[in-house]
């Protein structure tokens, strides 16, 4: 195959060099398109051929680490999860995720999102600190209870939802879909007892009541987490709690080992990973 026969794709890339550029600007480069090339592959090729100083974040290349969220042809996506062929055009416009400050080129400053995430206490809150520090047994949870939060636990914190949300775009105080979705993930975990504590942080203008269901977070989520659903269900919980209609429950206890004689045909369990043997 001659060079002339190789299909080209044009990358418009948003560039910004801190301390040098006063504002971001677009730069265009053509690169050869290869079968199966993702936008992330394209960026690597671009860096190799014509823009060696181009900066972005990426790691796993398989939609798990959540590093390479970018605005690709106007939509927040993961660069590694987006085939150039699926865009249906020979022109790929890549910009950093909006609603986050730009550190350099395609690198957004995600710190405000993670700070809010931390404020909403995304971990199990329980009284038995000793058991958590030095577990003796596992906490009991049924498959049905797992389903209450499993969908929300697939979040990879890429920030695409925050970039798509029109409320985040206008209101810097709003916590945003990712932190709120994760607060709901822990609120609905049967092992958690932190609803009352998170409720204090969630009240007010920065919490879920600023969400007016544009649904963009769920539309752009590359993992199908559906943060919009999490936020609406969280509001339901908060209203139920206000009306004293919320079911009160204690955090799940540790599993008690089964009592009675063991049936002989059942194979032995693998070695224990917690507690004394």
């Amino acid at each position: 195959m001659t060079d002339a026969a190789v299909k080209q794709v044009t990358f418009h890339v948003r560039r910004f060099e801190p301390g040098v550029d006063r504002a971001p600007h677009w730069e265009s480069h053509a690169i050869p398109l290869t079968p199966g090339m993702t936008v992330l592959d394209g960026l690597w090729k671009l860096k190799e051929l014509s823009a060696p100083s181009l900066a972005w974040r990426s790691s796993c290349r398989m939609g798990i680490c959540g590093s390479c969220g970018m605005l690709i042809n106007g939509r927040p996506r993961l660069a590694c999860n987006t085939q150039i062929s699926e865009l249906g055009t020979d022109v790929v416009a890549v910009a950093p995720l909006p609603n986050f400050a730009i550190i350099k080129d395609l690198v957004p400053d995600l710190r405000p999102m993670f700070e809010t995430h931390r404020e909403l206490m995304p971990y199990l809150i329980r009284d038995d600190v000793a058991e958590q520090d030095d577990p003796t047994l596992e906490y009991w949870q049924s498959p049905h209870e797992l389903e209450h939060y499993l969908q929300f636990s697939y979040c990879i914190k890429c920030g695409c939802c925050m970039a798509a949300c029109p409320t985040v775009a206008t209101d810097p105080q709003y916590a945003g879909p990712m932190p709120l979705g994760q607060a709901q993930r822990y609120n609905t975990d049967s092992r958690d007892g932190g609803f009352a504590e998170r409720k204090e942080v969630l009240s007010g203008g920065s919490g879920p009541w600023r969400c007016h269901f544009a649904g963009e977070c769920s539309q752009v989520c590359p993992k199908g987490v559906d943060p919009a659903k999490a936020i609406q269900l969280m509001k339901r919980e908060l209203v139920s709690d206000l009306l004293r209609m919320r079911k009160r429950r204690d955090p799940a206890p540790v599993v008690q080992p089964p009592k009675g004689p063991r049936r002989e045909e059942i194979p032995a369990a693998p070695p224990r990973t917690a507690g004394e043997a």
Binding site: P18, V168, A169, H212, Q219, C221, Q232
Partner: protein, 144 residues
Amino acid sequence: MASRAHPNRLGIKGWVAGGRWGFARYMYTLHRLTGLGLLAYFVMHIFVTSTRAIGPESWEQAMEIVSGPLFAFGEYLVFAAFVFHALNGIRLGAIELGFAVGVPIEPVYPYETSVGRTQRLAKAVLMIAFVVAVWGGLDFFIWK
């Protein structure tokens, strides 16, 4: 050290950029625009009716200004905005109390979202709003 990062928050531009433009996004934007329109109308309404406090002449003068066909059409638009805003507000109230969004599911590609589930409700709101605004509104405001 001061941050050298460049601000990139979309602001009001974010109402029309940066997402995938699902059906709910149109409803969201229209809800905000109609809300702002109604607010502008209320401010104008209070200003116009307050002229009565100055005297009957001022009132008559103000009523003369707002009685033309342009203002009749404007009133019709306010009515249409009110119908949409009220019906969509009821829809949002239901959704924000967790109705129609479904329960958490295992995310399997292609993903189904709560936005897709609530579209039927959104379309019903639009359809009722359209019918009420066109037939009731035209009859009252334009052909009166």
